[in-house]
């Protein structure tokens, strides 16, 4: 036996290469995002609009095919103030990650909020997308840099997720 310490552990590198495919519904959605258009999909049974769409209504278990164009205005359904940095991301803490419901959709998606006073962010707050310049648009939701508060009345909790694409007048 060696004079070195006995082996008690190994480093086992497992590296596998894949070619990931987005799926038909996400691909349609991302193709529209590249053009600066937000689209959801409506369930033929319960009529809920999913955004971003995954091709099925998780509640009813049926394909969602009807595409619905949404506004880039949304309502804060929930949020958290994050105090830790995102690795390799220029966003500096503290920053806000929010569950937002786009006008015309019924279910929330996750995005960043900025140009806001963190301590003043609240459920029911109205926000709008701040887009990157069009020439930088890609197949990605970070075509929208973040959402910022807009000067519209708050949405009562029982109305969140029920705003039409036409918007919220209060």
């Amino acid at each position: 036996m060696s004079e070195q310490e006995p082996i008690t552990g190994i480093e086992a590198p497992i590296y596998l290469k894949y070619n990931f495919t987005a799926g038909a519904a996400p691909a349609r959605f991302l193709s529209q995002v590249k053009r600066g258009v937000l689209t959801g999909q409506r369930c033929p049974l319960c009529e809920q609009v999913y955004f971003p769409p995954r091709g099925s209504c998780a509640a009813c278990g049926v394909p969602t095919q009807e595409e619905v164009v949404l506004a880039d205005k949304a309502t804060v359904e929930s949020f958290t103030i994050v105090a830790i940095p995102i690795p390799n991301n220029p966003i500096k803490p503290p920053y806000i990650i929010a569950n937002l419901v786009a006008d015309g959709a019924n279910l929330s998606f996750i995005h960043l909020m900025s140009e806001c006073v963190n301590e003043d962010v609240h459920i029911g707050q109205r926000v709008q997308a701040v887009w990157k310049p069009a020439e930088e648009w890609d197949y990605a939701m970070d075509n929208i840099r973040y959402f910022k508060p807009i000067d519209e009345p708050d949405v009562p909790v029982d109305r969140i997720g029920k705003i039409s694409v036409a918007g919220w007048e209060g």
């Binding site: 008690t8 552990g9 480093e11 590198p13 497992i14 596998l16 290469k17 349609r28 193709s31 595409e67």
Partner: protein
């Protein structure tokens, strides 16, 4: 409905796992680092290389290590004429089940050969050691035909 495009993204899914070896695998790998190969005696007396912690027939805990030779005999083999990127050799080679001298159970490793016709069941092979041994299965950098 808009026409779906096919959106692909190549990616590498990678983790380096840290695994505890325990006394049996650890002993085998420690010996490999010293350029020795050890097996373990199963309940029925068969020498198993690389050593197993428990007997597959009786589930008995095994502990009697046995040094085995660095040469052995090919029990079966497969010829790789087009190695895959992950494979241990860029040149065509054979995967083989090799019964080392003093062992009763073949182990799986790879064999260097210039061509398929060089390899045969029953052929004698010898372990080739890596330039630097670290206590890992690849310390044996393949086998060569004797």
């Amino acid at each position: 409905m808009s026409q779906p495009e096919i959106l692909n993204q190549a990616f590498e899914l990678g983790y380096t796992y840290t695994r505890s070896t325990g006394p049996v695998v650890g002993r085998f790998l420690t010996e490999l680092r010293d350029r020795n190969i050890v097996g373990i005696k199963a309940s029925d007396g068969r020498v198993v290389v690389p050593p197993m912690e428990y007997d597959p027939d009786t589930a008995e805990e095994l502990s009697e290590f046995v040094s085995v030779g660095q040469e052995g005999e090919i029990v079966s083999w497969a010829w790789i004429k087009e190695p895959r990127e992950a494979h241990p050799s860029e040149q065509p080679f054979a995967w083989a089940m090799i019964k080392l001298d003093g062992a009763d159970v073949p182990m799986i490793h790879w064999v260097r050969a210039d061509g398929e016709s060089e390899v045969s069941t029953g052929a004698r092979v010898r372990a080739v050691w890596a330039d630097e041994t670290i206590g890992f299965m690849t310390d044996i950098n393949g086998f060569e035909l004797v």
